[in-house]
C-alpha cells in the first residue's frame, strides 16, 4: 500500500490550565490520501480545531503534544521550528473561520499574499505582485487590480474569505486545512465559498481537511468524515457510507437534533441531553455515555476503541446503533464535484435576463466521471 499523504498516529495534545490539564485531543489516528477531502465534524470543545493545529505543529509553547504525524513520509513532530516554517504555506496551508480576524487590518490585501510568496519562492516584488493579482482573480475577486491595494475592512465578508483562500493557495500547498471556513458567513456566501474550495481543490489535486460543526456541509463536500467528540474520534467512514448507516449514537444525535427543512413546522427536536464532559476531568469509559440514550452499564467501564464495522467504517462504541439520513445520503452520493460551474463564476453570470445553467447538467456529468 502506498504511503498516504498524511498519517496521524495516536496524536494527543493537552494544555495546562487552572483547572488541571485539558486533554483537547486525546489519541486521534487518521490518514489522508493525495487529493482526498476529509471532513472533521464536532461541536465546540470537541478538539477539532486543536487537532488540525496539532497536525501542523501550530501550537502555543505551553501545549504538550505526543504521537506521530507523518507527512509524505516525514515525521513533522521531529522537525525544528525553522524547518516547519518552510513547510507551512508551501506544503500545508490553512484557511480560518473568520476572515475578518485572520487578516491583518493594517496591511493591504496584496501584502498578505506577496510576503509569503517572496519568502517561500524568492519571487521579486513585481513578480510576486503579478502572481498575487493572478491568485485574486482565481479565487473570484472582481477587479483584482483595485482590490490588491485595499485594506481588508474595505471588502465584504465573502471577499475577505476569498482573500484568505488566495493567501493559503499562494505557494501551491498539497494539503489545505480549512477550519470552519464558512461558519462566519451568510448562507448564500457560504455556498459560494464551499463551491470555490471544491473547484480549486479539484483543479490542483489538493487534499483538504474540512473542519466544521455542520454535517450538512460535510455531506456534499468530502470523501470521508470523522466525527469527533471530547477529543476523540467517535466514528469515521466514507461520506456516503456514513449517512447511509450511522453507527455512533452521538453522530445519530447530531443528525437528529438539527432542524430540517423537510420536516413540518413545530417538529419536536430529539435534542442530545446534557453537556459535553469537562476536558480537564474526563470520565472513565465512554465519554459520551452520560448523554447517550443507548448507554448500558459497561459503557462507563472501558473506553471503546475505534473498530471497523464495515469497509472503511470504524466506530468507537460498545453498543452501536444503525440509522440513516436519506437526504444527506442523497447529497453525499452526488459527490463533491456536484457543483454547477456557472454558479462558481462570480462575474456577471446573473446579469439581467440571462438564464442560469440548469443545475442538473453538471451533476449528471459529475456522476458519470
Amino acid at each position: 500500500m502506498p504511503e498516504p499523504l498524511l498519517r496521524v498516529d495516536r496524536l494527543a495534545t493537552s494544555f495546562p490550565t487552572a483547572r488541571g490539564r485539558v486533554r483537547a485531543v486525546d489519541g486521534v489516528s487518521l490518514e489522508l490520501a493525495e487529493g482526498e477531502t476529509l471532513g472533521i465534524v464536532g461541536e465546540s470543545g470537541s478538539g477539532k480545531s486543536v487537532l488540525i493545529r496539532s497536525i501542523m505543529g501550530l501550537l502555543p509553547p505551553t501545549a504538550t503534544r505526543t504521537g506521530e504525524v507523518r507527512y509524505r513520509g516525514r515525521d513533522l513532530t521531529a522537525l525544528s521550528p525553522a524547518k516547519l516554517r518552510r513547510l507551512w504555506g508551501t506544503e500545508i496551508a490553512m484557511v480560518f473561520q473568520d476572515a475578518t480576524t485572520a487578516l491583518n487590518g493594517v496591511k493591504r490585501v496584496g501584502v498578505h499574499i506577496t510576503e509569503s510568496l517572496r519568502r517561500h519562492t524568492g519571487l521579486g516584488r513585481k513578480a510576486a505582485r503579478e502572481r498575487a493579482l493572478d491568485l485574486l482573480a482565481q479565487v473570484g475577486i472582481p477587479d483584482p487590480k483595485r482590490r490588491i491595494d485595499q485594506y481588508p475592512h474595505e471588502l465584504s465578508g465573502g471577499m475577505r474569505q476569498r482573500v484568505t483562500i488566495a493567501i493559503a493557495l499562494a505557494c501551491e500547498p498539497r494539503l489545505l486545512m480549512a477550519d470552519e471556513p464558512t461558519t462566519a458567513l451568510d448562507a448564500t456566501v457560504q455556498r459560494q465559498i464551499l463551491d470555490l474550495l471544491s473547484e480549486l481543490q479539484a483543479e490542483r489535486r489538493m487534499a483538504m481537511i474540512l473542519v466544521t460543526h455542520d454535517l450538512g456541509v460535510v455531506a456534499g463536500r468530502t470523501d470521508r468524515v470523522a466525527v469527533m467528540y471530547a477529543g476523540r474520534l467517535a466514528e469515521t467512514a466514507p461520506t456516503r457510507t456514513l449517512f447511509g448507516s450511522v453507527r455512533h449514537p452521538y453522530t445519530e444525535g447530531l443528525l437528529r437534533s438539527v432542524p430540517r427543512i423537510d420536516q413540518p413546522s413545530h417538529t419536536r427536536l430529539p435534542a442530545i441531553a446534557g453537556r459535553p464532559p469537562d476536558l480537564a476531568n474526563l470520565p472513565d469509559g465512554c465519554r459520551f455515555a452520560a448523554r447517550c440514550p443507548h448507554a448500558e452499564a459497561d459503557c462507563g467501564d472501558a473506553a471503546p476503541v475505534l473498530e471497523e464495522v464495515a469497509a472503511g467504517h470504524a466506530v468507537a462504541c460498545h453498543h452501536p446503533v444503525l440509522a440513516r439520513d436519506a437526504s444527506l445520503e442523497r447529497r453525499a452520493r452526488r459527490g463533491k464535484l456536484a457543483v454547477a460551474p456557472a454558479a462558481l463564476a462570480p462575474d456577471g453570470a446573473g446579469a439581467p435576463g440571462t438564464a442560469r445553467t440548469p443545475a442538473g447538467a453538471p451533476i449528471d456529468a459529475a456522476e458519470a466521471v
Binding site: E43, S44, G140, P142, S156, G157, G158, M159, R162, D186, A187, T188, V189, R191, Q192, D195, H213, D214, G216, V217, A219, G220, G253, L254, S257, V258, P259, R260, I261, D262, Q263, P264, S265, H266, R268, L269, P270, A271, R275, S327, R331, R334, A338, A340, A342, L344, P346, A349, G350, P352, G353, T354, A355, R356, T357, P358, A359, G360, A361, I363
Partner: protein, 354 residues
C-alpha cells in the same frame, strides 16, 4: 424583495401585534443615513410564531428591536393590542415593554458578568416595583425551574460560570418572569452548539405553549425558521420579499431571493430547488440602496421595470388555491409553479429547476 405594501396584513381581531410601514434610519455625518429598515409591515396573531429570516444586513434585528422601541423607529406604527407604542414615552412605554420582551443572540454577553443569576432574573420585577423579597425569590426560582435550571445549583452563579446554553436559559427566564405577551427572539440559538441549539429551540416551544406566548423569531437559519414558525417573512436589505406559511414558502418559493437562500442549504444542493450559488456581487450599501426592487442588482430575473418601480406585496399569482394561505410576494417577476404573468413563462422554465 425589496418591496413595500400592506396587502399581506390580516384584518381579523386575533392580530396581537401589528407593524405598519416601519422605517428605521440611522443618521451618519454629512447628511447620509443608513436605511436599515424601509417600510416593513408585519402582523402576528395571538399565539402565532412569526419567523423573520434574512442574511446579515437585511434589517431583521433592527426590526425586532424597533418593535420594542429600542430605539423607536424613525416612522411607522407598532400596534400592540390596539395601542400604538411609537407614541408612548416614559412610564407608559415602560409598562408596555413588560408585555414585550426580547432574547438576544449572544447569551453570555447579554448577562451582566458581575451579577448572580437570581439577581439578573429578579431585576425586571424590581423595576416593575415588586418589593416583597420572599415573593420575588419564589417567582424567580419558579421561573428558573421552568426553563430547566436548578435554582439551588445555578442561582448564585455568575454568567461566566455557566455554559452558553445555560446562559440562554437564564436570558429566557429573565424575559419570561415579566409575563410578556410577545417574545422577540433575535437569533437565540445562533451562538450555540448544534446539540444545545435543539434544547433551546425545544425550550422556546415549551415556554410558548406553557405561557401562551406570541413569538417573533428572527434568524438567518432557514431550517430553524421552518421549524419554529407558523408564518415566515423573508427580508432583504431593509425590505420584505415574501411572506407566507412555512410549508408553502419552502415548497414553492415565489421570490427569486428566497430561491437563492434555499439553494444555500446543503441538503438542497442539486435538488430541484437549487438555482446555484448566488452571485458573488456585493450586497448593495444600505447607505444608498438600489431604486425600485432592492434585490434587482443581484437578481437573475431583473428587468428595467424592477429599477423603475418598486414591487408591492401581492398574493402570489397563479397560485389560486394557495391564495387562502396568505402567500404574498413583493416581486414583478415571481417564480410560480404554473405560468406566471405574461412574459415570464419561458424564463421560468429555464431558471426554475432541472
Amino acid at each position: 424583495m425589496a418591496g413595500s405594501g400592506t396587502a399581506h396584513l390580516r384584518d381579523d381581531d386575533d392580530v396581537l401585534l401589528r407593524v405598519e410601514d416601519l422605517v428605521v434610519e440611522f443618521p451618519l455625518s454629512r447628511g447620509r443615513k443608513v436605511h436599515a429598515v424601509s417600510g416593513v409591515s408585519l402582523d402576528v396573531r395571538r399565539g402565532e410564531t412569526l419567523g423573520v429570516v434574512g442574511e446579515s444586513g437585511c434589517g431583521k434585528s433592527t426590526t425586532g428591536r424597533a418593535i420594542l422601541q429600542l430605539p423607536p423607529p424613525t416612522s411607522g406604527r407598532v400596534v400592540l393590542e390596539g395601542t400604538d407604542l411609537t407614541g408612548l414615552s416614559g412610564a407608559a412605554l415602560r409598562a408596555a415593554r413588560d408585555r414585550l420582551q426580547i432574547v438576544l443572540q449572544d447569551p453570555i454577553s447579554s448577562l451582566n458578568p458581575r451579577r448572580k443569576v437570581r439577581d439578573v432574573v429578579a431585576e425586571g420585577l424590581a423595576i416593575r416595583g415588586e418589593t416583597d423579597r420572599a415573593r420575588v425569590r419564589e417567582r424567580v426560582d419558579e421561573m428558573l425551574r421552568a426553563v430547566g435550571l436548578d435554582p439551588d445549583l445555578v442561582g448564585d452563579r455568575r454568567a461566566h460560570e455557566l455554559s452558553g446554553g445555560q446562559c440562554q436559559r437564564v436570558c429566557i427566564a429573565r424575559a419570561l418572569v415579566l409575563e410578556p405577551q410577545v417574545l422577540v427572539c433575535d437569533e437565540p440559538v445562533s451562538a450555540l452548539d448544534v446539540s444545545v441549539q435543539a434544547q433551546i429551540l425545544n425550550l422556546i416551544e415549551d415556554m410558548k405553549a406553557r405561557y401562551g406566548l406570541t413569538l417573533v423569531f428572527i434568524t438567518h437559519d432557514l431550517a430553524v425558521v421552518k421549524n419554529v414558525s407558523d408564518r415566515i417573512a423573508v427580508m432583504y436589505l431593509g425590505k420584505l420579499c415574501e411572506v407566507g406559511p412555512p410549508d408553502e414558502l419552502f415548497a414553492r418559493p415565489a421570490h427569486p431571493y428566497t430561491r437563492v437562500l434555499l439553494s444555500s442549504i446543503p441538503e438542497l444542493e442539486g435538488s430541484e430547488l437549487d438555482v446555484g450559488a448566488a452571485d458573488a456581487g456585493e450586497l448593495p450599501s444600505p447607505l444608498d440602496p438600489p431604486s425600485g426592487c432592492r434585490f434587482r442588482t443581484r437578481c437573475p430575473r431583473a428587468t428595467d421595470r424592477c429599477g423603475a418601480e418598486e414591487p408591492q406585496m401581492r398574493l402570489v399569482p397563479g397560485n389560486g388555491a394557495a391564495g387562502a394561505s396568505g402567500h404574498h410576494v413583493a416581486c414583478h417577476h415571481p417564480m410560480t409553479a404554473d405560468a406566471g404573468p405574461a412574459g415570464d413563462g419561458a424564463e421560468l422554465a429555464e431558471t426554475g429547476a432541472t
